[in-house]
C-alpha cells in the first residue's frame, strides 16, 4: 500500500514539475520599450517621440543583424526549403551591399490585419511593415505612435527614393510634421469607371474614353442609356459587372475627395477644397442612389445586388460566364484593363468607360506604404534596405520571384514566367514593395510594358490641394465610430438599390445627426482651415 502510494505521488510530482517548467520557462516582465545597446558614433538617430533608439554597427560583432519585414502575400506557395534558398541568395547580396540579413514575414491578406495589429500592440521589435489605408490602417497606427518618425533618417539612407518620389507623396505620409512611412511608387492616380468587353462595345457603338485626364468622359446617365440599349437586344443578360459599388472608397465620379474614408461623413469637393460638407446630404448622393434603385428595377444590376455584392465566389464564377459584359475595379487604368481581360477570359482588351476626372489624391499614395516600427533596433539599416528595394531591380525582383531558372524563367527584360510547381512561386504582391514600376511582369497577367503605360497614366492627374492632409480623428473618435457603424448598415442597401432612397436617406441622416455627424464636420473644417492656412 505504502509503496504504491509513493510511486503514484512521485509520478504526480514529476508531471506537475514538468508542467510548471514548461509554463514559467524564462518568463519575466513584459518588454515595454527599447533594448539598450552600445551607441556607435556614426549611427544614432533621435526619434520624435521621447525614446532614443540606439543602433548596433553590423561589422562590430561580426554577426549580421537580421531585419524583419512584414508583408502581405500568399504564403501557401512557398515551402521552407524554397524560402531558405531564396533567402540565402538575398542575404549574400545584402551582406555586401548594406551589411544585414533579411527575414520576410509573409502573411495572407486575410490575416495580415490581425497579425500586424497584434504585433504592433505587443510592442514587438520589427523593422519594416507594409501599411496602407485599406488594410493595417496607416493613419490610426501612426496616430498611436506605432511607427518611427523618419525625418532624420531619409536623407542619409534613402537618396534614390528621396530623389525619385515626388515631394507631394512624402506629404501624404506626414502627420503633424513627421514622416511616418515611405510611399511606394505604384499607380496612384484614381478615377472611376467600368471596362466593357470589346465586341459589345463595338456592337453598340461605344467609343470608350481615353486614359488621358478628362478626355471623352461619360456620365452615369450615358452609361445607363448604353445599358438600356443592351437590355433591348439581350433582355436576359445583366449588363453591369456588379463587382462592387461605385461609392466604395473614393468617388471621383462626383468630384468628392474623401478625407477620412468613405464611411465617415466629411468630404470636400475637388472644385472647392476649402469647404467640408457632409456627402450624405448632397444631391449627388441622393441622385446616385435613385439611379441605382432605378437600374435594379430595370434589370441592369442583379436583383439581390445588396447581398450579391459580398459573394465574391459567385462573382468570380459570373465573370467567367460567356455572357458577362463589363468589369469594374477600384480604378480604371491600363494595367487593370489587362487584369480584366485575364479574369473574365476575354480575347481582347476591354474598352474603358471612365466616369470621372483623374485625380492624384492622398489615398492614391496611401494605398501602399512601408513604415518602420517604433521599436525597431536598426532603423538606419531598415531605411537603407527599403532604398535598395526601391532602386535595385535585381534585388526586388529576386524577392518577388525567387531564383532564376529555378522559380521562374525570364522571357524578356521585363517579363517572366513563374514556375508554379517550384517551392517559391511568386508569393509577394508587387505593389507592396517600394517601386512597382521596376518589377517584372508575369506572362499572361498583363502586358509587358504595363508599367510604362501606368507611369504615363499617373502623370497627368490633377493633384489635390489637400495633398498631405490626413484627418486626425482623436477628438471625435466616438462620433466617427458610431457614424461609421450607422453608415455601414445602410451602405449596401442604398448603394445597391435595395431600398427607396427618398425615404431611407432621411432616416439615415437623422440617426447620424444624433450620433454627432455635425461635430465631425466641424472638426474637419477646423483642421482643413489650419492646413490650408499654412
Amino acid at each position: 500500500m505504502k509503496g504504491k502510494l509513493k510511486r503514484a505521488l512521485s509520478a504526480a510530482l514529476v508531471i506537475t514539475l514538468l508542467g510548471s517548467t514548461l509554463l514559467t520557462g524564462c518568463g519575466g516582465s513584459p518588454t515595454a520599450g527599447n533594448t539598450s545597446s552600445e551607441t556607435s558614433a556614426s549611427d544614432s538617430s533621435a526619434a520624435d517621440s521621447s525614446e532614443a533608439v540606439e543602433v548596433k554597427t553590423p561589422a562590430d560583432d561580426g554577426v549580421y543583424p537580421t531585419l524583419t519585414w512584414y508583408m502581405p502575400g500568399d504564403p501557401t506557395v512557398i515551402t521552407s526549403e524554397g524560402y531558405e534558398a531564396v533567402s540565402k541568395v538575398l542575404n549574400d547580396y545584402l551582406e555586401e551591399k548594406i551589411g544585414c540579413h533579411l527575414e520576410l514575414k509573409i502573411y495572407a491578406f486575410s490575416e495580415y490585419d490581425q497579425k500586424c495589429s497584434t504585433v504592433i500592440s505587443a510592442g514587438e521589435h520589427y523593422d519594416l511593415m507594409f501599411t496602407c489605408d485599406w488594410i493595417n490602417n496607416f493613419s490610426t497606427n501612426a496616430g498611436s505612435n506605432a511607427y518611427l518618425s523618419l525625418n532624420d533618417l531619409l536623407a542619409a539612407n534613402a537618396p534614390e527614393a528621396m530623389a525619385d518620389i515626388p515631394e507631394y507623396m512624402w506629404q501624404a505620409t506626414t502627420i503633424n510634421g513627421n514622416i511616418y512611412a515611405m510611399p511606394a511608387l505604384q499607380v496612384y492616380a484614381k478615377n472611376d469607371g467600368v471596362f466593357m468587353r470589346k465586341d459589345i462595345a463595338e456592337e453598340f457603338g461605344v467609343k470608350g474614353s481615353s486614359y488621358d485626364n478628362g478626355v471623352d468622359k461619360y456620365t452615369l446617365e450615358e452609361l445607363g442609356d448604353i445599358y438600356a440599349q443592351i437590355k433591348v437586344k439581350y433582355p436576359d443578360v445583366i449588363p453591369d459587372d456588379c463587382g462592387g459599388v461605385f461609392w466604395t472608397y473614393l468617388d471621383e465620379a462626383n468630384d468628392f475627395n474623401y478625407l477620412s474614408g468613405f464611411d465617415v461623413p466629411g468630404v470636400v469637393r475637388f472644385t472647392d477644397e476649402g469647404t467640408v460638407i457632409n456627402q450624405f446630404k448632397s444631391d449627388e448622393f441622393m441622385n446616385y442612389c435613385k439611379t441605382v434603385y432605378d437600374w435594379v428595377k430595370r434589370g441592369y444590376l442583379q436583383p439581390d445586388f445588396a447581398s450579391y455584392v459580398t459573394q465574391t465566389d459567385q462573382l468570380a464564377l459570373d465573370r467567367m460566364s460567356p455572357d458577362h459584359m463589363t468589369y469594374r475595379a477600384g480604378f480604371t487604368a491600363p494595367n487593370v484593363a489587362a487584369m480584366a481581360k485575364t479574369i473574365c477570359g476575354w480575347e481582347e482588351e476591354p474598352v474603358p468607360i471612365i466616369l470621372s476626372d483623374k485625380y492624384a489624391v492622398t489615398s492614391g499614395v496611401t494605398q501602399s506604404l512601408t513604415a518602420i516600427g517604433i521599436n525597431s533596433d536598426y532603423p538606419d539599416l531598415a531605411v537603407k534596405l527599403y532604398n535598395l528595394a526601391y532602386s535595385d531591380e535585381w534585388f526586388v525582383n529576386t524577392m518577388i520571384y525567387g531564383i532564376e531558372d529555378v522559380n521562374y524563367t525570364k522571357n524578356s527584360d521585363t517579363e517572366v514566367t513563374v514556375n508554379k510547381e517550384s517551392n517559391y512561386a511568386a508569393p509577394l504582391a508587387t505593389f507592396a514593395i517600394a517601386n512597382q514600376f521596376i518589377t517584372w511582369v508575369q506572362q499572361g497577367a498583363s502586358e509587358p510594358d504595363q508599367w510604362e503605360k501606368a507611369k504615363a497614366f499617373c502623370e497627368d492627374a490633377t493633384p489635390s490641394e489637400l495633398f498631405g492632409y490626413i484627418f486626425d480623428s482623436s477628438s471625435v473618435q466616438n462620433e466617427v465610430a458610431n457614424c461609421a457603424a450607422i453608415y455601414t448598415e445602410y451602405r449596401y442597401p442604398l448603394l445597391c438599390g435595395a431600398v427607396d432612397p427618398e425615404t431611407t436617406i432621411p432616416q439615415m441622416l437623422d440617426r447620424m445627426e444624433k450620433a454627432g455627424a455635425d461635430k465631425i464636420i466641424e472638426e474637419m473644417q477646423k483642421q482643413i482651415d489650419e492646413f490650408l492656412g499654412k
Partner: protein, 288 residues
C-alpha cells in the same frame, strides 16, 4: 403492441431528424465536386450535372505541405487530447468533491475564468512575451489544453457517480489516488469519452491559435493551411485592383472541399469514441 408502435414512431422521428441534419452536409459535399459553371448555370441541386475534382486538385497542389500539416495536426491533437483529458479530469474531480474544503474556491476560480476574458492582445502578449511560446509546437497544445467550459462538463459527469461508492472505497481503506484511478476513472469512461471527443475536435479544427502564434510553414497545422489557401482567394477577388489575380481557380468548390478535407478524418475517429458511448457500460458495482 403498444411498445412496438412507439418504437416504430421513435425510429421514424429519429430517421427524419437524421435526414434533415445531413441534407446541408450533402449539399456541401456535392458543391465541392461541382464545377463552377454548372453552379452558375443550374443553381444549387443535390444531384450534380458534372462531377469534377478540380477543387481538390487545386488545394492539394502542394502535397508535401499538406502532408506536413496533417502530421502536425495529428501530433498536436493526439498529445493535446491525452494531456487535456488528464488535466481536465483531475481538476474536475477536485471540484466535484463537496466534502473537500477547497471545493468552493476551485469552483469560483474556474467560473470566473470562464466569464472574464482578457482579450486578444493581452493573451498574445502573455503567450509570446511572458511565456515565450511563440512559434513552437507547444503553443498549439497548451493554449487549448484546459478550458473552463470543458472542466465544468467533466465535473458534471463525475458528479453522476454516487458518493456512496466513494465512501465505500474509503471505508475499505483506499487512498485518494487509489479511489481516483480504480473507481472514478473507469466509471467516468463515458464522460471521459465525451469530453475527450470535444477536446479532440477542438484541436483538430483549430486554425485561430495557429494564425496568431505560428509563422513557420513547417509548423502550420492543417486547418490553418486550408484557411490560408481559401481566404486568400476571397481577399484577392475583393481587392482585385490591387492584386494580380492571374490564376483560374475554382472558388465555391474549393471552399467546400476545404470543409470536406477537414471533416473526413473525424468520420474515422468518431467510431473509436463511440465504443464508450453505448449503453453497455453500466455501474453494476453498487453493492446493496
Amino acid at each position: 403492441m403498444n411498445i412496438k408502435i412507439s418504437k416504430i414512431i421513435l425510429y421514424l422521428i429519429l430517421g427524419l431528424i437524421t435526414i434533415a441534419w445531413i441534407v446541408p452536409i450533402l449539399f456541401i459535399f456535392v458543391l465541392s465536386v461541382s464545377s463552377g459553371e454548372s453552379i452558375s448555370q443550374y443553381g444549387y441541386t443535390l444531384f450534380p450535372r458534372e462531377i469534377t475534382f478540380d477543387a481538390y486538385t487545386y488545394i492539394i497542389k502542394n502535397p508535401a505541405q499538406i502532408i506536413n500539416s496533417y502530421k502536425i495536426s495529428i501530433i498536436v491533437t493526439l498529445l493535446g487530447t491525452f494531456l487535456g483529458v488528464l488535466c481536465t479530469t483531475g481538476l474536475a474531480y477536485a471540484m466535484s468533491r463537496k466534502d473537500f474544503v477547497a471545493n468552493k474556491v476551485l469552483n469560483l476560480f474556474v467560473t470566473f475564468a470562464l466569464l472574464f476574458h482578457g482579450g486578444l492582445i493581452p493573451t498574445y502578449i502573455v503567450v509570446t512575451q511572458w511565456l515565450h511560446l511563440g512559434n513552437t509546437l507547444w503553443v498549439l497544445i497548451l493554449t487549448l489544453l484546459v478550458s473552463p467550459w470543458n472542466v465544468f462538463l467533466m465535473r458534471s459527469f463525475i458528479s453522476g457517480i454516487p458518493t456512496e461508492l466513494l465512501e465505500a472505497s474509503f471505508i475499505d481503506g483506499a487512498t485518494e489516488f487509489q479511489t481516483y484511478f480504480r473507481i472514478v476513472m473507469p466509471l467516468a469512461k463515458p464522460g471521459l469519452a465525451s469530453v475527450g471527443l470535444l477536446i479532440m475536435f477542438g484541436y483538430w479544427n483549430d486554425w485561430y491559435q495557429g494564425m496568431l502564434y505560428i509563422d513557420d510553414m513547417k509548423l502550420t497545422p492543417l486547418p490553418l493551411l486550408l484557411y490560408k489557401i481559401i481566404s486568400n482567394i476571397q481577399y484577392v477577388l475583393q481587392n482585385s485592383q490591387y492584386i494580380n489575380a492571374a490564376n483560374n481557380f475554382p472558388t465555391i468548390g474549393a471552399r467546400m472541399a476545404t470543409c470536406v478535407i477537414a471533416i473526413a478524418p473525424m468520420l474515422l475517429a468518431f467510431p473509436f469514441f463511440q465504443k464508450y458511448l453505448a449503453k453497455g457500460l453500466t455501474l453494476g458495482s453498487v453493492k446493496g
